[in-house]
Assembly symmetry: none
Homo-oligomer: 226 residues x 2
DNA sequence: TTGCCATGTCATAAATTTGTAAGATTTTTT
DNA sequence: AAAAAATCTTACAAATTTATGACATGGCAA
């Protein structure tokens, strides 16, 4: 749960203040005095959020933001800009290059926390909400429901209850039909990249999924390929 | 529920005319003379709807719309564009960048009101003042009351007492039934933007809401989806 | 100021989900 | 046909998530 936050700020006092505060809140904090240094750090470890001062020696904060936004890998990182200025045009420029939020100094730690939390919160959801329908089985991400969509059943769409993981698994499989997925692939795509679980765990979840679908006679939609 | 509407219009006469009218109708109105100013305001308070003039000094209305649409936070805000032109291509351009509706000057206050209402109803049902009725539970935003609307109970409509937050929460849920809302989503939509509260706080309020509804046996209308 | 109400937070209880191990079964190889 | 390899099942304890009650704080009115 502890997100990594990169602070790019040349004034040591402010840097210290912010980092102390964030560490206290439970974040992992990285600090850079210059944009150049920050670039190097980002190259190494991808932070979950970046706080950038507007005014920096050499490369300005805004250039740094532009750089982050142009990179495939760094594009989605949420950014909050910090500035002493209260100039309106700056504010706009900041948001225009792609900062997610903007704070003028001085600010309270409390407010900073609030904005960080809000920004992190909003960044996460990026799932498609489209209904998937395969062979009479329908999955709706919005209502989070799985039902039978056969004509005969249409009047009384039976609902199939699944646990969170089974739901994600089914969603993934339904979004990628007609192909074989290795256990490793499924772990990567459904469980997430850096998880440490046994391969065999996939079997069990597939089993649970099939079991849930048994009642609907749709369990043959999932097949094993050796 | 009195929605907040932001007017971005450089001609003082028109701005005045519109704002007078909307205030009269019961909306909370914010005004900006330029897109730049508007950006600053949006950054501060998230309006429920934005009226933008096409022709603005410096940043054009269309750029402003594009900016709003590109921001995670401002993306869902409904937008109505105002213009003196009647050019079809403009209309298309306006809708293309993401405006929800489009009005050519001069327009009658009556028509403006109608469109605003329509757009609000379509995009954010919970801010329109319409009575919501779900599964025998009725919520009236104007009288700020929640009652049972079952036939049997009709004679003695029992009233359910709720705190302000519970009321807003229930209103939101009733306006968006049949879908799952994450804690983060609820915080954004019910508590408002830029608030700093724990995710878990939502749990507590849901609990209070359910408790209040228990007496009416309608508490099963709110379900948990893991 | 005092008292009350609404709210947010925390600690703890309750409920659900998930990963694993171990044995049963099926498929493939030898 | 037997052995080997892979998959399926089931049971269960650990881990995670949600529900609940209690408490502290802050605003507001009496």
């Amino acid at each position: 749960m502890s997100a990594t936050i990169l602070i790019v700020e040349d004034e040591p006092a402010i840097q210290e203040l912010i980092s102390y505060n964030l560490r206290n809140t439970g974040y992992v904090v990285l600090c850079a005095d210059t944009a150049e240094e920050a670039v190097a750090m980002v190259n190494d470890v991808l932070p979950d959020l970046v706080l950038v001062d507007w005014m920096l020696p050499n490369m300005s904060g805004i250039d740094f933001v532009r750089l982050l936004r142009s990179g495939q890998r760094t594009k989605p990182i949420p950014i909050i800009m910090l500035t002493a200025r209260v100039d309106e045009t700056d504010k706009i420029a900041g948001l225009e290059v792609g900062a997610d939020d903007y704070m003028t100094k001085p600010f309270s730690p409390r407010e900073l926390n609030a904005r960080i939390k809000a920004v992190l919160r909003r960044r996460i959801p990026e799932v498609s909400d489209e209904v998937v329908d395969v062979g009479g089985l329908r999955l709706d991400p919005t209502t989070h429901r799985v039902t039978i969509s056969d004509v005969l059943e249409a009047a009384h769409p039976r609902e199939i209850l699944l646990g969170p993981t089974e739901f994600r698994l089914l969603h993934y499989l339904m979004a990628h039909t007609e192909r074989v997925h290795s256990r490793a692939q499924l772990l990567d795509r459904v469980w997430g990249d850096h998880v440490f679980v046994e391969d065999r765990t996939v079997d069990v979840h597939i089993r649970r999924l099939r079991k849930a679908l048994e009642a609907t006679e749709k369990d043959d939609l999932i097949q094993t390929v050796r």
